[in-house]
């Protein structure tokens, strides 16, 4: 059997979900045996998201144009997309700026009011992606095949979700161990 083409993506999140993924410890060897990591900020050095990915874990909410672009590309090229962690599932902490009336007050606060005097709002489309007006969970933009909540989901929860997938089965997402937010 061909190896599963496996990817992980990091959008607007703190990378905690990826750290929790690394906490899988020796189970990572089992994963490595079953999959080819074709794209991942923690397990490969490939810059472009490839075609025909079987499974992808997406960490983070959609907060800027780059997040949005990558998510759309990921969805197009991935068979089974997993919304990975609370930022992806609920928009979580990144979305707390949504209650503050758009991006302007937030940018002003960060780059002008709190800066040492030479502050300016970074604006170079080639370097800094523009913030979107509203931060959104990923399933509000694309279809999601599995939700894996938690901030971050514990390594055990990640394992319980991934292990069945490696055998071509769907995990059972039920109960406090598998679906609690936070």
């Amino acid at each position: 059997m061909d190896k599963i083409k496996f990817a992980t993506v990091w959008l607007a999140g703190c990378s905690g979900c990826h750290m929790s993924f690394l906490d899988l410890d020796e189970f990572l060897f089992d994963i490595a045996e079953a999959v080819d990591v074709v794209y991942s900020p923690v397990a490969s050095d490939i810059k472009h998201y490839p075609d025909n990915v079987d499974v992808c874990l997406v960490e983070g909410a959609i907060a800027n144009e780059e997040n949005l672009e990558l998510l759309l590309e990921v969805r197009k090229k991935t068979k089974f997309l997993i919304s990975f962690g609370d930022c992806a599932v609920t928009a979580n902490v990144p979305a707390m700026r949504n209650m503050l009336n758009g991006t302007d007050p937030v940018l002003k606060r960060c780059y002008l009011e709190l800066s040492d005097d030479s502050g300016k709002i970074p604006k170079d489309a080639r370097i800094v992606p523009e913030l979107l007006e509203k931060v959104q969970p990923i399933h509000h933009i694309v279809d999601v095949d599995l939700f894996l909540p938690g901030c971050p989901p514990s390594a055990q929860r990640i394992k319980n979700a991934i292990a069945p997938l490696l055998k071509g089965e769907k995990p059972v997402m039920e109960g406090r161990e598998m679906i609690k937010f936070g």
Partner: protein, 238 residues
């Protein structure tokens, strides 16, 4: 007092007239999820999580405020009910600002508990992201309206058990809000005895004790039930 006989999920149950369907179900060992219901204070039917089906009635009814009737046939676990319950919980999450990861009540929250119970792993509704306040004017407690689900448990426990009547619901529709006194900062309301009953009654992280950090809060919701039993039935021990 007369006794009514009814069927709950096909099982015969006999209870006193005037009993709610929810109570009757509890006596029969049938679990119906609830949020606004709190043992020891009156029921108001605010959250609609306890909906049940009654044979011959096309409407779903809230079991906490519907009294049993002779010969009633109640279903509590149909597919329709399960779907609606899930939707209600999803709407509650989409309606306020629930960021569990940084909440004092994380792991000790009844909203989380029912989300798990109904199998909610995401909400399909758009989040509203309302602008809401936090009132920290009380020396011991705080209220964060971002996490309030308007169950009015605080209102009822303060009015009915502490009889201080500090809380009320003000405004209409999406602007509805729990207020202290005459919409004053909580710390300025003289009627508050600082008894902390509302803190224990609140099912979410909305009313909290100051100084508890994220996920550190522990609530004792049975306190209210104990107090009302002590007063009404003279049971002074737990």
């Amino acid at each position: 007092m007369s006794v009514h006989t009814l069927k709950i999920d096909g099982v015969d149950v006999a209870v006193e007239s005037g009993t709610s369907i929810l109570k009757a179900a509890q006596e029969a060992g049938v679990r119906i999820p609830t949020l606004c219901h709190l043992e020891g204070v009156s029921d108001v039917g605010a959250c609609r999580l306890c909906l049940v089906e009654i044979k011959g009635n096309p409407n779903l009814v809230p079991s906490c405020i519907t009294e049993v009737q002779e010969g009633m046939e109640v279903s509590t676990q149909t597919e329709t009910l399960q779907e609606y319950r899930k939707m209600i919980v999803e709407l509650l999450f989409a309606e306020g600002n629930h960021v569990c990861a940084i909440c004092v009540a994380n792991n000790n929250c009844e909203l989380q508990d029912v989300a798990i119970e109904v199998g909610m792993d995401h909400t399909r509704f758009n989040y509203r992201f309302p602008e809401r306040e936090v009132d920290l004017s009380h020396p011991q407690f705080g209220i964060d309206h971002n996490r309030c689900i308007l169950c009015t448990r605080c209102v009822r426990v303060c009015a009915e058990i502490e009889t201080a009547h500090v809380w009320n619901v003000a405004f209409r529709g999406a602007a509805a809000k729990i207020v202290s006194g005459l919409n004053q900062p909580w710390g300025e309301v003289d009627a508050c005895t600082s008894c902390g009953k509302c803190v224990d009654a609140c099912p979410t992280g909305s009313i909290f004790r100051k100084g508890s950090t994220t996920a550190e809060m522990v609530k004792d919701r049975s306190k209210v039930e104990f107090l009302s039993n002590a007063r009404e039935k003279h049971q002074w021990t737990k």
